[in-house]
Structure formats: structure tokens, C-alpha cells
């Protein structure tokens, strides 16, 4: 009888916790979207911000967020997945590997503002690049590297060992076995990791304040050279992202509609992350299907 009561209580309590989480999420999203909904116009999405007058947009910031994500992933993915492969398939079980693991864990627990200050020191000042997209991308790489390594390693280790045996027993080399058999099977896990890391890149502000900077030059969206200071693609220009913009407008905005702009930007940020998640998931399952049952 007691066991039955306990069982029922546990069910009720756990269901309540689940409802609480879902409720918080729905409430939060609903609030952010309802506050920012009226700002979701093409004009707001594409025009540049105004420093003193009302009516500025967040076009460059939105572009910066997406471009910074691309740059960060271009650097972080090869490093993170490479290190994950090493940890799962090559690292011998010894003190040195334990030391690597400890280092990765410490790295992952660094507060992002510390990573930002480290980025200021190394990627901004020592390199002499000043506030730049590349400095921001490198700081975010430091920030996301541990997550990517951990997730890749786990995903690879979760592939049944029999897959590896099957491939090696056919005279396939170890490297080819990893690339053609184990990695494709681990893809869903790795995609999840990439999505998590991307969400952090989109939402990160503290690590970017002193690396990618708090301003954006007047961008000329018809100029796509890599070295012109007004080119949106120039990786050596400063770039304020959406998250940083929200923080800046909220804390030191001078325009009469600062609150409005922050609300709109927040709604856009949430929607962008949501769209990116769905897109990445769709792409991931398409890729998984193609790699695991396609003919190539």
C-alpha cells in the first residue's frame, strides 16, 4: 500500500516538474514574442540602427550574428570534431589523456566574460586586429570547443563496437573506418552538439563585448570584397551581434524607442535560434539518411 502511494506521488510530482518547465518555456517565449511582435517588419529587420532618433533597425546586427556563427563554426567544427575523434579513437588510456580531459573540463567551466577578457588580451591586442569578427569567432571557439569535443567523443563512443569490428575485419583501414562507418553512424549526436553550440553562439554577449566589439561600421551590402572596411564579409571589421545590441540598447540606449528596439531584437533572436534549430535538425536527418542508406 505504501509503495503504491509513493509510486503515485512520484508520478504526480515528476509530472508537475515537467509542466513547470514547459510552462516557463511557453511563458517566456510568449512574453518575448508578444512584446517584440510589432517590431517584426521588413524595415526593422533590414535597416541600420539609429543612435539618437527613433525608428532604427537591427539589420547589420542580425547579419553579424549569422556571419559570426558561420565563421565560428568554420573554425570550431574541424577542431572540435578532430579532437573528439582523437579522444574517442586514438587517445591511449594514460595520465596524459586524463590531463587532456581535465583541461577540457576546466575550459568548459570558464565563465564567458573571462573567455571574453582572454580574447581581448590575445585575439584583439596581441594579434593587433582590434575588435573584429575573427577575434570574436576565436573567442567563441574557445568557449564552444569543450562542448564540441565532449559531444563528438560521446557520439562516437555510442556507436556499437561491432560496427568498427565489421569494417576492420573487411580489411578497411582505421581512418577509413572512422570516416565512413563510425562518423556517419554518430551523426545524429554530433548534429545535436552543433545545434547546442550554435545556440550559445547566437545568444552569447559577454564573450563578444571585448572581442567582436560593441559597434558595427556602416555596412555596404553591395560590397563583398574581403578587405574593404565597409564590406559585410570582411572578417577584420568590428561587429556588434544581436545579443550584444540588446544588452547595449538596454543599458545605454539613447533613443526614445530603446525599449522597443530591445524587445524587437529579442524576439528576432529567439526566432532566429528556433529557425536555426529546426533547419539544422532537418538538415541533420537528411544527411543521416543520405549517408546511412544512400548509395554514396
Amino acid at each position: 500500500m505504501r509503495a503504491k502511494v509513493l509510486d503515485r506521488t512520484a508520478t504526480v510530482v515528476l509530472t508537475l516538474i515537467a509542466l513547470l518547465i514547459v510552462g516557463t518555456l511557453v511563458g517566456l517565449l510568449g512574453f518575448i514574442l508578444s512584446q517584440g511582435w510589432h517590431k517584426l517588419t521588413l524595415d526593422f529587420l533590414t535597416s541600420a540602427p539609429d543612435i539618437v532618433n527613433a525608428g532604427g533597425g537591427v539589420g547589420p546586427q542580425l547579419f553579424n550574428s549569422i556571419y559570426l556563427l558561420v565563421l565560428t563554426m568554420l573554425i570550431a567544427l574541424p577542431l572540435g570534431i578532430g579532437a573528439g575523434i582523437y579522444m574517442a579513437e586514438y587517445a591511449p588510456d594514460n595520465k596524459f589523456t586524463q590531463f587532456i580531459r581535465l583541461s577540457i573540463e576546466v575550459l568548459s567551466s570558464l565563465p564567458s566574460i573571462v573567455v571574453g577578457l582572454f580574447g581581448l588580451l590575445v585575439f584583439v591586442n596581441m594579434t593587433g586586429w582590434g575588435y573584429s569578427l575573427l577575434s570574436g569567432a576565436l573567442a567563441l571557439t574557445v568557449f564552444n570547443f569543450p562542448l564540441l569535443v565532449r559531444i563528438t567523443e560521446d557520439a562516437l563512443r555510442n556507436v556499437p563496437r561491432s560496427q568498427k569490428e565489421a569494417s576492420l575485419a573487411l580489411g578497411i583501414t582505421k581512418w577509413r573506418t572512422i570516416v565512413s562507418v563510425i562518423l556517419p553512424a554518430a551523426l545524429p549526436g554530433i548534429i545535436t552538439g552543433v545545434i547546442l553550440a550554435s545556440g550559445r553562439v547566437f545568444g552569447e554577449a559577454a564573450a563578444l563585448l571585448f572581442t567582436a566589439g560593441m559597434s558595427s561600421p556602416n555596412l555596404n551590402f553591395t560590397d563583398f570584397s574581403l578587405n574593404s572596411p565597409t564590406s559585410p564579409l570582411n572578417p577584420f571589421r568590428p561587429a556588434e551581434t544581436l545579443a550584444v545590441h540588446i544588452w547595449k540598447v538596454n543599458s545605454e540606449g539613447l533613443t526614445p524607442d530603446a525599449r522597443d528596439v530591445a524587445d524587437g531584437a529579442a524576439a528576432i533572436l529567439v526566432l532566429a535560434v528556433l529557425l536555426f534549430n529546426l533547419g539544422a535538425r532537418w538538415f541533420g536527418s537528411w544527411l543521416y539518411k543520405k549517408m546511412t542508406s544512400g548509395t554514396n
Binding site: 561491432s162 565489421a166 569494417s167 580489411g171
Partner: protein
């Protein structure tokens, strides 16, 4: 043990021992296996029969702290040597595992993957290999209309026959089968056994099995292992009717194991 002077020996082991760390799992095995024969390894769990099998294609390399000593000559080549080309060896010595382990790929790709890796690029040639291998594994008729579906959509018995097809696509001379039917239902088991009898025409087969009836039905020679040692190896009919060793007799008559 057989003298075996006139037969065509394809696998020869001399004083082969296998250690896991300090523990010796297989002790001083000397055996000769004939070309195009079926040899069954029998014995209770943990007797070292699978361990010995896995040293024939160097799969024990995957096990940390595993060490193999002695000489294993396969088709004239010393296997237990640092100089050997392991990928080359495994093309000659194919293996099928206890649990069917098809790749997370299409049926077609499961078979075409290894030949393509080893240099076969021509699409038509690959198509032929896939069809021939599936036919030999008696699976073609069941899957010919769904070659590009995932191999995981097949039943357990079909998956295991796919694994056999995958192994013979490499045109090995030797097939090692590590309890290939132990996880299958009786009908699938029967199909695998029929397959082994057919494949024997072209390949030398070494099969580890827990099923004594299976060993009696399909093998020419039987080797009985106990606690890492080869107790007796002889013609299967001899082992099951008039074993020379008392322990063999006890085992096959079901007194232990």
C-alpha cells in the same frame, strides 16, 4: 592429433598461446586446417575457441593488453608478425560475427563498401559483385527489389546472411564464423547451415559453435577445446562416435559444459 602429411594445409598453428594481460586464455595450440574443409571449434564457454579464431585474422589487435605468441601460417604467410599487412590479411581471411552487425547503410552499400575501398570503382562491376555475393548468401531473391533500403530493415537471419555476403564479396579464401547462428531462430539457423555447406566448395571455413548438433551436421573436422587447450581434433564423425579422449566423450555426451 592428425599427422596430415599429404593434405593441403591452409592454416597451420604452432605453439600458439593468447594472453589477456597476465591471464593465459589459449595455451600452445598446434593444429592444421585443410583447404576447402569445414572445421568446427567446440567447447564450453571461456575455453578459448573464439579467442583462437580471432587471432587467425588479427582481430585480437583490437583488444587492449592482448598478446599472441607462437606461429600462425595462413596460406603460406606468417600472420603473427609485425611485418604483415593486416588489411591484406583480412581480405584473404573474412569474418562473420556472433551478432549480425550490418553497417548503418543500405543493403547494396553494405556489400559494395569494402570492394570499393579496395579499388573497385566501376559501377557495373560493383553491381555484379553485389548480386553475386547476395546470390551466394541465398539472400538475393529476398532483397533484390529493395537494395537501397537500410540494411537494418532486414530480419535478424537476413542480416546475418547479409554479413556473410559482405564477407564473401571480398573473395576471401578463408571464412571465420564466430557462432554465426547463436542469436538466430531455428529456421534462420538452418539456412545458415545450408549456406555453410554450399560455401565449403569455394572457401575454407572455420566455425565456432556452441551447438554440438550443428558441428556434427556441417563440419568435416572438429576441434574440442577445454580451458584454453586443444584436447582433441579429428574427423567429425570420429569425434562424435569414437572420441579418443575421455574429456571429449564427457563433453559431447553432455556430462558437462
Amino acid at each position: 592429433m592428425q599427422a596430415g602429411t599429404t593434405v593441403d594445409t591452409i592454416i597451420q598453428t604452432r605453439n600458439v598461446s593468447v594472453y589477456y594481460g597476465e591471464k593465459r586464455a589459449v595455451s600452445n595450440i598446434n593444429m592444421d586446417i585443410e583447404r576447402n574443409s569445414v572445421t568446427a571449434f567446440i567447447g564450453p564457454s571461456g575455453c578459448g575457441k573464439s579467442t583462437l579464431l580471432r587471432s587467425l585474422n588479427r582481430m585480437n589487435d583490437l583488444v587492449p593488453n592482448c598478446r599472441v605468441t607462437g606461429s600462425i601460417v595462413v596460406d603460406g604467410i606468417e600472420v603473427n608478425s609485425d611485418k604483415i599487412n593486416i588489411e591484406g590479411l583480412r581480405q584473404v581471411v573474412g569474418m562473420v560475427f556472433q551478432r549480425a552487425n550490418p553497417f548503418f547503410k543500405s543493403i547494396y552499400e553494405n556489400i559494395a563498401f569494402a570492394p570499393r575501398f579496395h579499388g573497385m570503382r566501376d559501377k557495373r562491376e560493383l553491381d555484379e559483385v553485389v548480386e553475386r555475393s547476395l546470390r551466394k548468401a541465398a539472400l538475393w531473391d529476398e532483397v533484390k527489389d529493395r537494395l537501397h533500403e537500410s540494411a537494418l530493415s532486414l530480419s535478424g537471419g537476413q542480416q546475418q546472411r547479409l554479413c556473410i555476403a559482405r564477407a564473401i564479396a571480398m573473395q576471401p579464401t578463408i571464412l571465420l564464423l564466430d557462432e554465426p547462428a547463436s542469436a538466430l531462430d531455428p529456421i534462420s539457423t538452418m539456412k545458415i547451415e545450408e549456406l555453410v555447406l554450399e560455401l565449403k566448395e569455394e572457401y575454407t571455413i572455420v566455425i565456432v559453435t556452441h551447438n554440438l548438433h550443428q558441428a556434427a551436421r556441417i563440419s568435416d573436422k572438429t576441434a574440442f577445446f577445454l580451458m584454453g587447450e586443444l584436447v582433441e581434433m579429428n574427423d567429425t564423425s570420429k569425434i562424435f562416435t569414437a572420441p579418443e579422449n575421455k574429456k571429449t566423450e564427457d563433453y559431447i555426451s553432455g556430462r558437462f559444459g
